[in-house]
């Protein structure tokens, strides 16, 4: 139960940040998404994001910042194992499951569903 609450608080704070950017700045939604990925990379490199993941679990890994963190983590690991080429290969390798499932499930959903008014 504590896990759920901690995940809720962590994920909630990340979403509130995005909502504040939407409401009080002119940054477009697409840019906010990119900003969050980059933020995840930076926090991942600095070792801050892993600490947030330790506390929040899925609340930190599921939002876009978590994707950025995975990219950073993958690059660091790959560079340690295979050298500088890891800068190019590590990120996508680590995020392979996420990227492939986004494409696969996105495609399936596009086939089985139709967009509608809210």
């Amino acid at each position: 139960m504590t896990d759920i609450i901690e995940a809720f608080i962590t994920g909630g704070i990340i979403c509130v940040l995005a909502q504040l950017l939407t409401d009080y700045t002119k940054i477009t939604p697409a840019r906010i998404m990119v900003l969050f990925v980059v933020m995840g990379v930076v926090l991942g490199v600095l070792g801050i994001y892993p600490a947030i993941v330790d506390f929040g679990g899925a609340g930190a890994t599921v939002p876009l910042t978590g994707f950025g963190n995975t990219l950073a983590k993958g690059v660091i690991r790959e560079v340690n194992e295979a050298g500088l080429i890891g800068v190019l290969t590590g990120g996508v390798k680590a995020a392979a499951a996420g990227i492939s499932s986004a494409i696969t499930f996105g495609y399936i959903m596009a086939i089985v569903s139709k967009p509608k008014l809210k």
């Binding site: 909502q19 939407t22 409401d23 002119k26 939604p29 697409a30 967009p115 008014l117």
Partner: protein, 337 residues
């Protein structure tokens, strides 16, 4: 023959008459305060078609058919159809009318298109180039979102100054004679760009254009705002509406209760979660060809200045960092005789 008076205004010598009109809207508009004035409310946002673009075309065509039917006319009675919409290359109108064998004048004035089509239609009739014209515009929330913002599938959060594109089409038939309000003059607007770059704040961008055209119309015609029972802007929304009231006040004009905005009338701003109100080519078109036409025909409104506003940008230009050029055209509608 029409004559130009002042800098931007054209006065009709034999004012063309709005002999009738029709408006068809979507479900959300059908839940709005003007529901009982529309000819048809369609629940299905696809209008029985496979895509939102085709849906909008279908809507535009159905509205023309409905207007002709209500006036007891057929397409062969029309000399011109003047029509436009918000899709790329104005295709909702082109595809809708490809089987209608009537000379077609496709126009683009963004959300000011309805007023623009009335100006052209009235000038053609007053200049003896036509006996009867149809003026028709449409917009569709789902196709406009894809065109100007993001596809619906993306499901993004709306910003506090955003407006809701009206799903609807409005059509009026203009004739040489008949019962109904007449177009006595119009004022073609000039492009106004105050440097606003936020494509989610159209009302704020367009209000100065509306102010400019209203002031110009009053100066050219020597009228005061009190001459009109109602000054009606197209789709400034609540934010742009209060901005226009402020701008006019700064020019010494108090609008009192003589001013309203179609974008604020078409939805219930408090209950319908549309943020600042309605927008789109269809917004002013459906309000004009349903509620306003009905009020004028009943004599509850006798003089209306219809000022449809448009934001003349494209997503490409805004992405390249350009500001939004805006325009407003004013059409003077009066019950004469």
């Amino acid at each position: 023959m029409s004559t130009r008076t002042g800098k931007q205004t054209v006065v009709m010598s034999n004012p063309p008459v709005i002999i009738g009109g029709a408006a068809i809207v979507g479900r959300k508009e059908g839940d709005g305060p003007l529901a009982r004035y529309y000819d048809q409310i369609v629940d299905d946002e696809y209008f029985g078609e496979k895509s939102f673009e085709k849906a909008e075309s279908r809507l535009l065509r159905d509205t023309l058919v409905k207007a002709l039917e209500k006036c007891g006319k057929s397409a062969s009675d029309l000399n011109f159809i003047i029509s436009g919409d918000l899709q790329n290359q104005c295709t909702a109108a082109s595809y809708a009318l490809r089987d209608v064998r009537v000379p077609f004048i496709g126009i683009y004035g963004a959300c000011s298109t309805m007023a623009e089509s009335l100006c052209i239609g009235a000038a053609l009739i007053d200049g003896d180039a036509a006996e009867m014209t149809a003026c028709i515009t449409s917009s569709h929330f789902c196709s406009a979102e894809k065109q100007f913002r993001y596809p619906l599938e993306f499901g993004y959060q709306r910003t506090p100054t955003s407006q809701w594109t009206v799903t609807g089409a409005g059509c009026v038939l203009l004739g040489k004679q008949g019962d109904g309000p007449a177009i006595t003059s119009f004022t073609a607007g000039i492009i106004t760009d105050m440097g606003i770059k936020d494509a989610n704040n159209m009302g704020g961008a367009m209000a100065p254009a509306a102010c400019d055209t209203i002031l110009r119309h009053l100066e050219d015609t020597g009228r005061s705002l009190d001459y009109y029972d109602l000054v009606l802007t197209g789709d400034l929304g609540s934010f742009g509406r209060s901005m226009l009231i402020r701008l006019l006040k700064g020019n010494g004009i108090d609008v009192k209760d003589r001013y309203n905005d179609c974008g604020c009338m078409v939805f219930d701003l408090e209950k319908q979660d549309v943020v600042c109100g309605g927008s789109g080519c269809g917004c002013s078109a459906v309000v004009l060809s349903s509620y306003i036409l009905e009020m004028m025909n009943q004599g509850k409104l006798n003089k209306v200045l219809f000022v449809a506003t448009g934001a003349l940008h494209s997503p490409t230009w805004v992405q390249q960092g350009e500001s939004i050029p805006c325009i407003a055209h004013a059409v003077s509608l009066e019950n004469v005789g």
